[in-house]
Amino acid sequence: MPSSSDSRAADPRDLGGPIQPLLKVRGLVKHFSVRGGAGKRRVVRAVDGIDFEVRKGETLGVVGESGCGKSTTARLLMQLIKLDAGELIFDAATVGGQQLPLREFRRQVQMVFQDSYSSLNPRMTIEQSVAFGPRVHGVGRRESMARARSLLDRVGLDPQRFGGRYPHELSGGQRQRVNIARALALEPRLVILDEAVSALDKSVEAQVLNLLDDLKRSMALTYVFISHDLHVVRYVSDRILVMYLGEVIEIGPAEALFERSAHPYTVALLGSMPSLDPDQRTEAPPLVGDPPSPIDPPSGCRFHTRCPYAEPLCAEQKPPFAELDEGHRAACWMVVPGSQHSQAAKAQCVDA
């Protein structure tokens, strides 16, 4: 889904102009307290100080292994859970501030969940589910229903045939179309897709991805696309963000990130992608073991316990988020020129 920012119609809600990012995330932190074995309270650092931007009209892919904080990030962006620290700036207005109260923000940001069944109320017909959002925001019953029907039509479900059905009467792909329609019912500008196509089988997944692409163009949407499927992320994303243990470790344009991955974790993650061509099998050894516990994350660079290039420096000091080239950043000592890491220079050469 390459971006098509030029085809965006002028949106009256667009405050900051095309250069202002749609969503700026600054120092986002979420810690969950859990009870330890001996009754001690311990803290899970699910999301530990992340910064990034979502540009207008782009699709930002978010990848990382399970437990790295992807879904927590999504819920934080939606403000479904309270953030412990940090701020969200939506198109030049602070979320929850005077200019953009939470309720108004929620109108502009919507989410599609992974589990298509659990995300629809089994006691409501699908048109009622889609019409719920507009009803909450004061749109009349009749108009909400009309909007729901036209959205169902838009996502490829004949409202005459499907509108009055209950979720259990639909297939997984159809249900996910309903969820997309529901997310669009409030005419949002940003849609967060949290593993939205992961549970679908491949052929249906492709259809839904095409649908998402169409909708993005015609409704001037911006996507945050969270997935563990790297093939899909590469296909849909303009830029990709890689998370590890609650931190952003690399971000950059999709092609640059795939072709010139800078962080050893990204390299390993991409190396784990199954190839469709048997001659192109990746020989790079996969990472060993599970990621360390986010309850007590490693010192310095959090990846140093599993990194093949780890040196004493990595355990001692946290690497800065260094820029490699335009918009491509990675948090690794090897990309910092002149750092004490023995590979620092080499990394520069590879990159140059």
Partner: protein, 297 residues
């Protein structure tokens, strides 16, 4: 669904799909369940007895007769015999349905409303509010229900009103617990998150998204409580804490007839049989209702 691609307006109409509502499906399943029908009919008959009691009794249920005491079953004019004061037992059993069912059902209905409200709020809110509500309820739950009912009734004094109140207090914790656990489950579903994401208030979410999904299990559980309530109410009356003589109520009748257990055991057992039939009917009905509601195509 038809898959006919014919573009004929007459053919388009059947494509419109309207699902029958959930409760309708459940009703249909119950109607096809023979056991549910049988106990359902018994319940209807009992309710009819309670409603139209005064018009159904062959004799005055309060009229005593010193010469016709403890007549056996099958006595002319008294098909079910007479009690220890010579009152017609059939008439008293019929009229007794009124108070017995009233005492059995009312506390459950009250507890259903109050307990559901408490449980749903606790379950949806979670956190400290949940802790406050549920721990308070646990205090009541710690006592055996019979003991609690007797204790409250005894403390408040005998009488129908106090008996109803004590039974209601006994059942609120039980209903609230079920409501809380079902609500906690439902709260974790993504559609609740989706509703929150659309900006709906907690009250609106409870009303539109939570309520319909939790009320079924709570209802089934409460229906099952009616039999317990019947027995407890009878127990209270038996102990002299509920209905007072000479009002006919099955538990109280069981109490007063117990003196005749050696001379006329069948007669003495009759009110107990009524309690048994009623409570088992409600119990079986609740069970069949649960079965009818559980399966989803």
């Amino acid at each position: 669904m038809t898959t006919s691609p014919v573009v004929d307006p007459a053919q388009v109409a059947p494509l419109v799909h309207r699902s029958s509502g959930y409760w309708r499906t459940v009703g249909g399943r119950l109607a096809r369940d023979r056991l549910a029908l049988v106990v359902g009919l018994i319940i209807v008959a009992l309710l009819a007895m309670a409603l139209f009691g005064p018009w159904l009794t062959p004799h005055d249920p309060y009229a005593t007769s010193m010469i016709r005491r403890l007549r056996p079953i099958g006595t002319e004019g008294h098909p079910l015999g007479t009690d220890e004061l010579g009152r017609d037992l059939l008439s008293r059993l019929i009229l007794g349905a009124r108070l017995s069912l009233f005492m059995g059902i009312t506390p459950v209905v009250l507890a259903f409303f109050i307990g559901s409200a408490l449980g749903i709020v606790a379950g949806y809110a979670g956190g400290w509010l949940n802790a406050v509500i549920m721990r308070t309820i646990d205090v009541f739950y710690a006592f055996p229900s019979v003991l609690l009912a007797i204790a409250i009734s005894g403390a408040l004094g005998a009488g129908i009103g106090n008996a109803l109140l004590s039974l209601t207090l006994v059942f609120i914790p039980e209903v609230a617990r079920v409501a809380e656990s079902v609500t906690t489950q439902v709260r974790g579903r993504d559609y609740i998150e989706a509703a929150r994401a659309s900006g709906a208030s907690a009250l609106l979410i409870i009303r539109t998204q939570v309520f319909g999904n939790v009320i079924g299990p709570i209802f089934v559980y409460s229906t099952g409580l009616i039999s317990v309530s019947m027995i407890l109410a009878s127990g209270l009356s038996f102990l002299g804490l509920g209905v007072r003589p000479p009002e006919p109520e099955w538990g109280l009748m069981l109490n007063t007839l117990r003196t005749a257990i050696y001379s006329q055991p069948l007669i003495a057992a009759l009110p107990g049989v009524m309690i048994f039939i009623t409570s088992i009917s409600f119990n079986v009905f609740a069970d069949r209702l649960r079965a009818a509601m559980a399966v989803r195509s």
